[in-house]
Symmetry: C2
Subunit: 331 residues, 2 copies
DNA sequence: TTGAAAGCGCTAACAA
DNA sequence: TTGTTAGCGCTTTCAA
C-alpha cells in the first residue's frame, strides 16, 4: 500500500503539502493540489485511517462501536440499520458486535472499542454490565445508551416508552372485555422488561381490576420459553382469555402453543406481542403488536452521538420514543 | 488513556520490557513480569490496537471486515452471526457494513477496510462491484467470498448449492403432480438468483416437462415485488397450481397475495420459498422452504479467512454447502 | 534479561 | 504557500 511518502516523492512536494491536499486545506495552490492529486490517483493512494487515528488525538476517527445482544433479533437488526444509515451518511464506519447479553463478551468488546479508539459507543447495557459501561464512560468515552437505561450516571439515552406501550396493549384487551389477561414477561434483569411489566400492572390498576399472580410468568425472551410458559398458562384450571407476550420471540412461541392446542385466536385466546417484525402480518392470524420504532431509535442514537462528538458541551439528552399499538387479527 | 510509556515509568522498566510482557515473551524474569503487570493493572492499561496495527506490519490485526447487503434480512443476520462467533472465539473484532447491493456503498466500505488495514474481508460480491472487489484482491487483501461467486479470480469462496436446492423444491412439486409451476425469480445480476433459476429449469428438463415462459417472473428480492408478481400470476387465465419464490421476502409477499384472493394453500395453490427464517413455522400455513445453512456459511467463511491469515500458502478453497428441503404445510 | 532507538503513516506546530 | 520536524503508542532490531 502506498503511503504519504510515496505520494510526496512522486509529486515532488513534501508530505506536509500532500497531507494538506488530503485534508482539503485552503492553503494550497490549485496547481500544487492538482499535481498531488494526480500522484495520489496514479498510485491508488488511500490515507491510512489507522495512522490518522493514532496521530490526530483531537479530531474525529470516523469509527463507531455498536454492541447489541444479538443481531439475529429483528429489533436489533433494525436498530443497527438505523445507526448505520446515519453513520454512512457521515462517512463513519461501524464496528458491530454481539454480546448475547453476556457480561464477558460485553466487557471484551468494550475493551476492543477503547483499544480501537473509536469515537464513541452505542449499546443497550444490561444490569451486570453496568460496571463495565460506567467505567468506559468515566474514562471519557462518549456513550449513547439505547433501549435500556442505566442509573447513577448522566448519559445520552434513547429509550422507547415501554410502560405506555405495554399499557396500551392491556388497555385494549380490557376494553375488549378481557379480565383474565396473562403476561409472559421478560427477564427482570433487563430494564425494558421491567417497564413492560409496569405498564401491564398500571393498566390493571387504572381499570380497578385485580391481577392474578398466577397469570404472570417470567421467561427469558426466547421462543422456547414463550411456548413453554403459554402451555403452562393454558393448562391452568382457569386459563387466561388473553395473553400479552413481552417480546417478539415469546409471542411467536405463545402462538405455537395456542395452535398446538387447536384453540382459536382470538375467539378462545387473544394474543398480543411486544415488538413488530416483517412477518407479523403474515402469521396465522396476523399478529397484533406493540411496535417499537427501532429503526428510529438507532438513527436517533447515532445522531445524538455524532452531535455530542462535534459538541461535547451539549446538555445530556434522555429521549423516549413512543411505541405504537398495531391492531391486526389476533385480538 | 494510559500508554506503554506510563506503564514503563510506573514500573521502572523500559517500554521494550513492558511490550515484552504484553506480548508474552519468555525473555522476561518472572519478578519483572509481575511488577509490570501490577503497574498495568493499577493504571487500567489497555494496549492500543491502533498503534499496534500501525507498527506491526506482518502480524495479525485481529480485525475483520464484513460487507453484507442488508443485515435486516435474516439470512444476512445469520451469516453475520456465524462469522462473528468464529471471530470472537479467536479474539477478532468485526467491522460490519450494509451495502444495499449498491456499488457506491460497497466501494466506500472496501476503501474503509483497506484504510483500517483489516486482516481480511468477507463479502458477497454483486456483479457491478466485481471490479472493486478484484482490485482489493489484487492489492493483496485476503478476501473470502460468501453466497455469491465471482469469475476470473482464484479466491476462497463459500457458496450454497443453489441449483440443487431449487431443483429439490421443484422436483418435489412435480412429484406432487404439479405441472404448472411458477417461479418468482430474483435479479439476474445476482449469481445465486441465476443459479436458483437454473435449478428450476433443470428439474423441468429432467422431468421432460415444458416451461411456460409466462410463469417465470423476475422480481428484486423484496416482499412487494413478491406480492405484485404473485398477483400477476394468479390473474393469468391459466394460473399456476404451485409457486416457487426465490427468496424469503418474495415468498412472504406471494403468501400475502394468495391470502388476499382467499385461495387455499396448498389445495388451490402450493407455495415454497427459498431461505428459512425463524417464523416460517408460524406462518399460515407453515411455509415449506429450501433452507440454506447460512450460519454455517458464515462460520466456514470466517474460519477459511483465519486459516488463510495464518497460512497464506494454503490452496484456494471453493466450498459449496448443501441446502435442505424443509417440508411444512404449504405444499 | 533488559534498554536504546528507529520507524510504522500520519497531523500539526513552527519556520521559512 | 510550502517544508521541516516532532511525536501519537507501539514493535522490533541491535547492543549492552
Amino acid at each position: 500500500m502506498p503511503s504519504l511518502n510515496d505520494v510526496a516523492k512522486l509529486s515532488g512536494y513534501s508530505i506536509a503539502t500532500v497531507s494538506r491536499v488530503i485534508n482539503g486545506s485552503d492553503k494550497v495552490t490549485p496547481s500544487t493540489r492538482e499535481s498531488v492529486e494526480k500522484a495520489m490517483e496514479s498510485l491508488g493512494y488511500l490515507p491510512s485511517r489507522v495512522a490518522r487515528r493514532l496521530r490526530q488525538k483531537g479530531g474525529l476517527r470516523h469509527l463507531l462501536g455498536v454492541i447489541l445482544p444479538n443481531i439475529q433479533n429483528p429489533i436489533n437488526a433494525e436498530i443497527a440499520r438505523g445507526i448505520e444509515d446515519i453513520a454512512y451518511a457521515n462517512r463513519f464506519a461501524v464496528i458491530l458486535c454481539n454480546s448475547d447479553d453476556k457480561y464477558e463478551k460485553e466487557k471484551f468488546y468494550l475493551d476492543v472499542m477503547r483499544a480501537e479508539s473509536v469515537d464513541g459507543v452505542i449499546l443497550p447495557p444490561n444490569q451486570e454490565s453496568n460496571a463495565a459501561v460506567l467505567e468506559v464512560i468515566e474514562k471519557g468515552m462518549p456513550v449513547v445508551l439505547v433501549d435500556r437505561a442505566i442509573r447513577g450516571v448522566q448519559v445520552d439515552t434513547v429509550e422507547v416508552d415501554n410502560v405506555i406501550g405495554a399499557k396500551a396493549a392491556i388497555d385494549h384487551l380490557i376494553q375488549l372485555g378481557h379480565t383474565r389477561i396473562a403476561m409472559i414477561a421478560g427477564p427482570g434483569s433487563i430494564s425494558n422488561s421491567r417497564q413492560r411489566k409496569r405498564g401491564f400492572e398500571k393498566a390493571f390498576k387504572e381499570a380497578n381490576l385485580p391481577i392474578d399472580p398466577e397469570l404472570v410468568r417470567t421467561g427469558d425472551y426466547t421462543q422456547s420459553t414463550g411456548r413453554a410458559l403459554a402451555e403452562e398458562l393454558l393448562d391452568l384450571t382457569s386459563p387466561p382469555t388473553a395473553v400479552f407476550a413481552s417480546n417478539n420471540f415469546m409471542a411467536v412461541g405463545a402462538l405455537e402453543a395456542i395452535h398446538k392446542r387447536n384453540l382459536r385466536i382470538p375467539e378462545d385466546v387473544a394474543l398480543i406481542g411486544f415488538d413488530d417484525f416483517p412477518w407479523a402480518e403474515s402469521l396465522d392470524p396476523p399478529l397484533s403488536v406493540v411496535k417499537q420504532p427501532a429503526y428510529e431509535v438507532g438513527q436517533t442514537a447515532a445522531q445524538l452521538l455524532l452531535d455530542r462528538l462535534s459538541n461535547p458541551d451539549l446538555p445530556i439528552s434522555k429521549l423516549r420514543l413512543s411505541p405504537e399499538l398495531i391492531l391486526r387479527k389476533s385480538c
